[in-house]
């Protein structure tokens, strides 16, 4: 548990970066600091491992004031992932990951063995250990950065905009990876970002900070979307918050309809309604438009691209998006393995929401 007790930071030039921050980051949870630039989120993070010391107030990790520990020793017990990864260019990937174990005196052999384990944990091939950071892509460097932070198995992990320098697709993969790691490792994570979507996706609790380093709201993401504390939070959370709020609504009771399907490679014919084309293993490939005729075996080049896929059992947002993005109006639902489960309709998603709301009113 990381506790901020009335923490303020004023710089010599008179600016206040953090103003009387009171906050508790729970053990084993991801706490996200989010806000516009100049809101003091990075300063707050860096006060935890004493890269910056507060002007007033104190920070406690599991009850212990961080200022009672020598900074270098404190930092070796706190993982830190930085924007652009901050890898040491002159050391191999393996030695980068082995940095903290070496610093705390494990010896080279044991430290490297541990580093190899970590590379596997973050999904990098063992052969990559011998390369230098300059030979890796941005996403791979970021994974190495996470591996380095976890190498000595610290209970606390600080992450300072770790994924902001990579492209959106890689970023999403890294976010999913972080959630998977966290479900295995259960670290106390403090994560800084300026991206509210990232905050909502990753955070168990999200602290929205405003300029001048004041805490605007500290709440679980669903509550942030449903009940923003003030105008600042609601404008920062954004226009689509009603829609994004569906990320926290389960899809129990949503009907999955059977769909007309055809299979790639089988003889084609004329179809009179939207028909979903699947592979032999039931993975959706695309749609045949009404009235289209296929001569000979069905190939993929005649298909209309499909919309997003909804994975059964996940939140309602995916179901609505699948329906809205589908060319024929039927969203495609798949099971966890990616095989076709059936179709979902936007009307029925809305109807389900209406029923839920009435259900709540009846109580």
């Amino acid at each position: 548990m990381i506790e901020f007790r009335a923490v303020s930071k004023r710089f010599p030039d008179g600016t206040t970066a953090v103003d009387a921050l009171d906050l508790v980051a729970e053990s084993g949870r991801i706490t996200v600091f989010v806000g516009p630039s100049g809101c003091g989120k990075t300063t707050s993070l860096r006060m935890i491992n004493r890269m910056i010391d507060p002007t007033e107030g104190s920070i406690h990790i599991d009850g212990l004031d961080v200022r009672s520990t020598d900074p270098a020793v404190l930092r070796r017990g706190i993982g830190y992932v930085i924007q652009q990864a901050g890898l040491f260019p002159h050391r191999t990937v393996l030695d980068n990951v082995a940095t903290v174990p070496m610093l705390i005196g494990w010896g080279r052999r044991k430290a490297r063995a541990r580093a190899a384990e970590l590379l596997e944990l973050v999904g990098l091939p063992e052969a990559m250990g011998g390369r230098y950071p300059g030979q890796l892509s941005g996403g791979q460097q970021q994974r190495v950065g996470v591996a380095r932070a976890l190498a000595a198995d610290p209970p606390v992990l600080l992450m300072d905009e770790p994924f902001s320098a990579v492209d959106p697709i890689v970023r999403e993969g890294l976010q999913d990876e972080l959630l998977r790691l966290q479900s295995e490792l259960g670290k106390t994570v403090v994560f800084v970002t300026h991206d509210i979507d990232e905050a909502i996706k990753l955070g168990d609790r999200v602290a929205v900070l405003r300029q001048g380093g004041r805490l605007a709201q500290f709440a679980p993401p669903a509550e942030l979307l449903a009940r923003p504390a003030d105008d600042f939070v609601s404008s920062f959370v954004g226009r689509d918050r009603g829609y994004r709020g569906l990320s926290f609504v389960d899809a129990d009771g949503l009907t999955i309809h059977p769909l007309r399907t055809a299979t790639v490679g089988e003889p084609g014919s004329t179809v009179d309604d939207w028909t979903l084309v699947v592979e032999a293993d039931k993975r959706p490939r695309g749609w045949l438009a009404p009235g289209s005729t296929v001569d000979g075996p069905l190939t993929e080049d005649v298909l209309v691209p499909g919309g997003s896929l909804y994975t059964q059992g996940t939140a309602l947002r995916g179901a609505l998006d699948a329906a809205l993005s589908s060319p024929g109006g039927h969203g495609v639902a798949v099971d966890a393995g990616g095989a076709l489960a059936g179709g979902v309709l936007a009307d029925e998603v809305l109807a389900l929401l209406r029923r839920r709301r009435h259900g709540r009113d009846d109580q």
């Binding site: 270098a72 901050g86 260019p89 002159h90 230098y132």
Partner: protein, 230 residues
């Protein structure tokens, strides 16, 4: 001309003298190179960390480097208490030049290190001195070697000036040649000075390769995206 040269080199006494001069020349050029580097690294580190110290140190090194070498060779004995013909005078003078030349590359090299790398080094728990020795200094090697190459050439040529006060390694060949209006020693002196500079330079380039295995690709031009005003 060629015959003169051959006759000069065929004489065993001359061979021995030239070889001795070469050894002395190497010693007087390379020992200051190492000493200067050993002084420049901590001074540069301290200057890089303190703004006021940086201004003072960089100003002082500029001025030091403009002091004429001959003047320094002559003044040093009275400061060091050495004899005027002592090799140490030249060694100390050249060590001062080397240090003056290398402080700036040390400062510049550390300045140029990416902030995220240094922040990461601090965040994983390096103490300042250890961070400097194991992260900053190894990363500064390419810039530092470039400075050392300039200093080595400068030293190898400046040693000859010492001949004017009687301790100049291969420079002695020049004074001998001039005094007796006899060209062969001068030619031998020039050729060996150039050869020595070339060999030392090649060794430095090879050393840099060994020390920077991570720089496998040729240096690339860094393109920085221009942030749009929108």
């Amino acid at each position: 001309m060629i015959d003169d040269l051959r006759r000069y080199l065929d004489n065993p006494r001359n061979q021995e003298a030239v070889f001795d001069y070469l050894l002395v020349h190497m010693r007087m050029a390379l020992i200051p190179l190492v000493l200067g580097l050993l002084v420049a690294i901590p001074v540069g580190w301290a200057a890089q960390r303190n703004r006021r110290l940086r201004a003072v140190v960089l100003g002082a090194t500029n001025i030091l480097y403009t002091v004429p070498s001959l003047a320094l060779f002559v003044i040093l004995p009275s400061i060091l208490g050495t004899k005027i013909l002592d090799e140490i005078n030249v060694v100390v003078a050249l060590a001062i030049y080397t240090a003056a030349l290398l402080v700036r590359p040390v400062v510049d090299a550390i300045d140029a290190l990416p902030a995220h790398v240094l922040a990461a080094a601090t965040a994983v728990g390096y103490r300042p001195l250890w961070r400097f020795l194991t992260v900053e200094l190894p990363l500064a090697v390419p810039v530092l070697v470039a400075g050392v190459r300039v200093a080595s050439v400068s030293n190898i040529s400046l040693v000859s000036v010492g001949a004017l006060i009687g301790v100049g390694g291969l420079g002695q060949l020049f004074t001998e040649g001039f005094q007796s209006s006899y060209n062969p020693p001068i030619i031998v002196g020039i050729v060996l000075t150039l050869a020595l500079a070339l060999v030392v330079d090649l060794l430095l380039v090879g050393g840099r390769r060994l020390l920077t295995p991570w720089q496998t690709r040729p240096a690339r031009v860094k393109v920085t995206a221009v942030r749009s005003a929108a």
